[in-house]
């Protein structure tokens, strides 16, 4: 490349032009190479001492030089482009790694002078776009109870190179959420009368290929649940007032002597609307017994609703079909214990204890209970414990 001076490139820099010819050209009005750019052979031959051959040489040399410059520029641009692209990649890598993504596979590729950088970067960009979409979806998805799935996907969510596995895990988590929601809806319907059907449908949830069938079954159960609710309410409205015996526990204790007390059924009701939270028994119930259970439940509800004989905050007792039913209320729940045989004092104490435990453990859920039995997590173990202790107290070990 010719050396550059302030006034331009010196004529001497042209190949084949020595000091003598340079002087002739300068004297002829061409002080620099630039000034020769527009000069033609005809112009140059007018200068004394410059013949046609030399003039042609000078013109071609000037333009050849110009040509070299163009080629030089192209090479420079290419070089610059390469530098630009690498800069762009570096910036992109920095941005992705700031976002928390693992870019080590791309860094390695660059370091090894990988030839397929454009394609690899494009694929990475696409994977990151998809991951961002999945992350957004996951942020709105209720993932409670799905920790195992969440842990698994979170371990790889920042590795765009694992996009296929991420997609697979994402589908699994969505399906698991769907199964969990269906199970939640089904559990809400597990009332006496529908419990067996609900359990049968819940069992189908173990087979993911049966999800569509479960959805159809759920709709049928929801319809039947509403029908049962209506009929139960109507039967309650029409139920005759149960004859109440105005007797004290002491009097009843005196009367029921001999046989030991056997607890048959335990009911837990929500105090506000008397909705059944749960029923527990140690017996296996026949269809007929289930019907009787509903009648028993109606009697308990009517007794509480009537209010005349019912004393809130105290242990109440109802005589019913040869049995007696203890009714005791807490802050949020009412417990009814149905038993036969001899009346025992420990029943009331146990009930009080268990109500206290349930209300303590599930205080938040019970404050404004929405009817979802699954939210009252402590009732099952406590009610079952009550049944167990009752059976032990009824049958003390022989000494």
């Amino acid at each position: 490349m010719p050396a550059k001076k302030e006034e331009g490139i010196a004529i001497e820099n042209l190949p084949g032009i020595g000091a003598r010819r340079a002087k002739l050209l300068r004297d002829g009005g061409y002080p620099t190479v630039e000034s020769l750019m527009d000069a033609t052979v005809e112009d140059l031959v007018k200068i004394n001492g410059i013949g046609k051959k030399i003039a042609e040489w000078i013109v071609s040399a000037v333009h050849e030089d110009e040509g070299d410059e163009v080629v030089g520029k192209q090479v420079m641009q290419k070089e610059e482009k390469k530098v630009d692209k690498m800069e762009k990649y570096s910036r992109q890598l920095l941005e992705w790694s700031t976002q928390g993504y693992d870019v080590s596979p791309l860094e390695k590729l660059i370091k090894d002078g990988g030839k397929d950088l454009d394609r690899m970067f494009a694929a990475y960009e696409k994977s990151i776009e998809r991951i961002e979409h999945i992350k957004k979806d996951l942020s709105t998805l209720n993932v409670s109870g799905l920790d195992e799935y969440v842990d698994r996907i979170m371990k790889m969510i920042e590795r765009p190179s694992k996009i296929k596995q991420i997609e697979r895990e994402y589908l699994l988590i969505k399906k698991a959420a769907e199964i969990r929601d269906l199970d939640y809806e089904l559990r809400k319907l597990a009332v006496p009368g529908l419990k067996d059907r609900v359990e049968a449908v819940r069992a189908k949830l173990r087979d993911p290929s049966k999800l569509e069938e479960v959805k159809i079954d759920l709709k049928d159960l929801q319809r039947d649940y509403k029908e049962n609710y209506f009929l139960e309410q109507l039967s309650q409205e029409m139920a005759p007032t149960p004859p109440m015996e105005k007797k004290t526990i002491k009097e009843l204790q005196k009367k029921e002597t001999g046989a030991k007390m056997i607890v048959d059924d335990l009911f837990l009701l929500y105090k506000k609307d008397l909705k059944l939270i749960s029923h527990h028994t140690t017996r296996t119930l026949s269809k007929e017994e289930r019907k009787m259970l509903l009648a028993q439940l109606q009697t308990i509800r009517s007794f509480i609703k009537m209010g005349k004989s019912y004393k809130s905050g105290m242990l109440n007792i109802i005589k019913y079909n040869g049995r007696f039913i203890f009714v005791l209320e807490g802050k949020y729940v009412i417990m009814a214990l149905s038993a036969h045989g001899k009346i025992e004092k420990w029943a009331g104490k146990l009930m009080e204890k268990v109500i206290g435990l349930i209300e303590k453990e599930d205080q938040e859920a019970l404050k404004n209970w929405d009817g979802d039995v699954a939210k009252i997590t402590s009732e099952k173990k406590n009610m079952k414990a009550l049944l167990y202790v009752s059976s032990k107290l009824s049958n003390p070990p022989k000494k």
């Binding site: 709709k219 049928d220 319809r223 029908e227 209506f230 309410q233 109507l234």
Partner: protein, 242 residues
């Protein structure tokens, strides 16, 4: 905009009977009490069930079908044969009142007097609050009357209709027309207590019998009183208007 305002003021429950809604300015005005009358075998139950069945399928309108005439299973089976299967649908809800009636009757400690009218209204109110309900069908008024010993039918029926109106639901009451009198209900007052009357008739012809439907009454609605042939095909009813 104008259309929206009109819809807001005048919401209607479509019958989904082809041709009929156009004849009643779009359907039955919301919260109306409509008598569906006719002799036995005029498809009163099928027509009303098809209204609530299609209303749920098309607009997710929640409804209850209270039956005192047939059992729930019998109704479902019949409707399925007509192309209205209930599998996988949480609506309409069919309440088998006949079963409750039987259960009460079989109880040893059965109550001396059951207030069916008020009990049903009371439970409907609770049910609506809990699950939502926009339309109810009562099949039938005559069967309900059979359970009720009226001291003063006019006053008690008036009160029943008023309490029904207070529920803010659209009601279709199926009423078997007495053959000996020109009235739409057993007590002869149901027609003026109701807001609308759909009358179904069978006409004998040489080649068999044809079913006809007439809109005898529909308050605040321009409608023809002409009886039109009613046909049922592929799970949908249609009135022939030409």
């Amino acid at each position: 905009m104008e259309e929206n305002q009109n819809t807001m003021k005048d919401e209607r429950i479509k019958t989904y009977v082809y041709g009929l809604d156009d004849l009643m300015e779009g359907g039955v005005p919301k919260n109306y009490i409509v008598l569906v009358c006719g002799h036995a075998g005029t498809m009163k139950s099928s027509l009303t069930y098809s209204i609530i069945y299609n209303a749920y399928k098309e607009k997710r309108t929640k409804s209850i079908y209270l039956t005192l005439e047939q059992s729930k299973e019998s109704i479902r089976e019949h409707m399925e044969k007509l192309g209205m299967p209930s599998r996988g649908m949480d609506n309409p809800v069919v309440i088998d009142l006949a079963r409750v009636r039987k259960e009460i009757a079989s109880k040893e400690d059965k109550p001396k007097k059951v207030d069916w009218l008020n009990s049903i209204i009371g439970v409907l109110k609770n049910y609506k609050e809990r699950f939502g309900c926009e339309v109810i069908v009562l099949d039938s008024l005559a069967a309900l009357y059979a359970l009720t010993s009226f001291k003063n039918p006019r006053a008690e029926l008036f009160e029943f209709f008023e309490r029904l109106r207070d529920l803010d639901v659209t009601s279709f009451l199926i009423s078997e027309v007495p053959t000996d009198r020109n009235v739409y209900g057993l007590y002869g007052i149901e027609d003026f207590l109701s807001d609308g009357i759909l009358h179904l008739k069978v006409q004998q012809t040489d080649r068999g019998s044809n079913l006809y439907l007439g809109v005898v009454k529909m308050r605040k609605t321009h409608h023809s009183r002409k009886f039109m042939p009613l046909i049922f095909e592929n799970g949908r009813f249609e009135v022939i208007t030409e």
